[in-house]
Structure formats: C-alpha cells, structure tokens
Point group: C2
Chain length 205, copies 2
C-alpha cells in the first residue's frame, strides 16, 4: 500500500506531554523518546522503598516517611552519621531481607541487607548484599557518600559509594553487585552468635 | 584375647620425635598428637608459593626466593609499601591466576588473584579472590597488615587482614572467602578495558 509520507512526517514531529504532566512534569517528547524519559522523570511517583514486592504503595516523595511510619511500623530508626546495623539470625535458611532507617543531616536513609540462595551444584552457598538508599531524589542522593564496614579480629571489609535514591531503588544495584557483597563464608568471619553488625557511616560531600 | 595392660600403658607414654627432627625440630609427641603438630611444625618444608598445583618444589624458607627467581622468572616484582597490582584481561574465560611480588620492609610479599567459575544454573558467574602472602613464617606474617582496594568513580571496595605465611598458603583462605572476594559484576565496575587495578598497601604493626 502507499505510505502517506506527509502524515508520517507530521507524526514524527508531534510532541506528546510526559505521562506525569498531571504530577507537574512540564516536558514534551517525540514518541520515540517518551518512554525513556518517563522512567527517569523526577515527577514519576515514588514506590514504597521496602525490599520485596509485597507493598504496592505509590505516592509523592513527601509522603514516603508517613507511609513507612504508618504501614511499616516495625522498622527501627537510629539517629546519627555513624551507627551499627545489627542483622540478627543471618544463618536462618531461605531468602531474607533486613531493613533499618538511619537519620542524619536532616535526611532519612534506608539500609537494606538482602540474602540470596545460590544453587551452584558444586558448592551451594548464600550471598549477602548490603546497600543504602536515601529517602530523597537522585539529585539529593548525589550529595552524600555511605560507607559499610564489617570488622572482626584482624580483618576488615568495606564498601563506599553514593547512596541510591529510593526513586531508583536498590534492585539494579544488587543485581550488578554495586553494593557491599559477600558470601556466607565471609559472613561467618564477621558474625557473632549468628548476628552480623554492619557499621554504617554517612558523609556529606 | 587377654589385653596386656602393662604394655598398653607403656605404649601410651612413649613419645616419638617429630618427623621433621632432621630439619631441626626438637619436639617429641605422644602418638595421638604427632600428626597435628607436624602440620603446624615450623620446620616442615615450605612448598612453592605459586598458585596452582603444578610446581612440586619444596625446601627451606631461605631457599624460596631463589626458587622463584630461577623457576618462576616471569613474575613481576614491584618495590614499595603502596603499589598497584594490574591484573590484565580479567574477562578471558576459564579459571586463571594472576601473581605478583611486592618488596617492602626488607620482606617479599606474594599477591595472588584467583578467578573461579561458579555454575549456578540460574546465573553462572565468576568469582575473584585476592589475597597476600608473606615469604616468611607465620610469626613474621603476624607483624604486618595488608590492604587491598578497588576504586572507581564514586565507588570503593577494600579488604584488610594479616598476610598469610607461605608456610600456610592461600588455598584455605580462598575457600573460606577470608580475602578480598568479588564477582564478575563487581569486577566490571572497577575494570578498565578488561584490566583490573588493585591497590595493595602493606603496613607494619
Ligand atoms: Zn516527565
Ligand atoms: Zn510500603
Ligand atoms: Zn616439629
Ligand atoms: Zn615453584
């Protein structure tokens, strides 16, 4: 059939508003670029930052803390730039998450420790992933550095990086080992009575 | 049959010399304790410290450096307390070892990076293990701390520990993840053009 090049040309120049325009995004895009922008759009609603897929809450950044206090009441919050995140019973089987909040510099940070089972037939093991996210935008997160440290007699392991924004989340960071990652053998070097203490230090840069 | 308790009592009190008595060990042991001592005996000959099982050399501690210079000529030596161990082509498939020597404080340290394949059916990956051993006894090794650091833009991973003595070797340390351990995803964060630079710092304590 005959293509209507005139119409195609018009369609290619038309710009469409971002789907989050009602949330305040002022930008318009060509059809081909719209989806990519919408993934990064700062007006995209924030999802619940708790690990796991069970909580479907979404809302604005300013509503996140209220949601956590109301629905995720059991999460501990510690005050200060330099705290210890104590993950208890790390040797219990299965995939598990530990979560904690850290308040400092007038911000709230969420610390996540995730345990995954690895099924290498030669040597089944577990991997642990620890990462820090900021209850804030990516721009705000770029102003900080977090440091995670495991220490024991004559051994120390550490990881420093920029916190993730909860807008981005930690799933990709964990998939890419872009975080403190260690296996269960290493965990035994640092755990005491099955509990693992992770030193968390937040700095402004 | 009748047991000769008198003879048994005598056998249990007899002490036998350590099998390395000809190498200088002055100690004697009850039969039950002899094997355990011999594994730890400081007069046990030193094996070649190079990773892999192919070199069967054994000798005294004072002969190790000469053996390395004569038989393992291709190993690079860097001078100094703070150096960069450059492991090239880390993405080539298969299990591989990288080895380097570092000279400082009038001692020689051997740096080992080992890559292993992990066959988790869900997600086959590779694991890297980096560890430092001292060309020296365990007593001498306890006077030092080594630090390994990987760094990239806005990320840093580190490990600090006492070096192993080559008398003990690094196989157990690697099996127990008692070293700097990271997977290939993490390696990509720090590698440039397929080459990985590890900062190695040795300190006296
Ligand atoms: Zn937008
Ligand atoms: Zn929630
Ligand atoms: Zn002996
Ligand atoms: Zn050799």
């Amino acid at each position: 059939s005959v293509r209507n090049l005139g119409l195609e040309k018009i369609a290619n120049t038309v710009r469409f508003p971002c789907k989050f325009s009602t949330s305040g995004c002022p930008l318009n895009f060509h059809h081909a670029d719209k989806t990519e922008h919408e993934e990064l759009c700062e007006f995209r609603p924030y999802c619940c930052p708790c690990p796991g897929a069970s909580c479907k809450w979404q809302g604005g950044l300013s509503d996140v803390m209220e949601h956590l206090k109301k629905i995720h009441k059991s999460i501990t919050t510690l005050q200060g730039e330099d705290i210890v995140f104590l993950a208890t019973d790390i040797n219990l089987p299965g995939a598990v998450d530990w979560v904690m909040m850290q308040s400092c510099f007038d911000y709230n940070f969420m610390l996540v420790l995730e345990k995954q089972e690895k099924y290498d037939p030669a040597q089944p093991t577990q991997m642990f992933y620890a990462v820090v996210q900021l209850i804030g935008s990516k721009k705000e997160a770029d102003n900080f550095v977090y440091r995670l440290e495991l220490s024991a007699s004559r051994r120390r392991m550490s990881w420093e990086a920029t916190p993730r924004s909860i807008h981005e989340g930690v799933v990709v960071a964990i998939q890419q080992s872009d975080c403190l990652a260690f296996d269960s053998n290493a965990a035994q070097l640092f755990a005491e009575n099955g509990n693992l203490g992770i030193n968390v230090t937040i700095s402004r840069i």
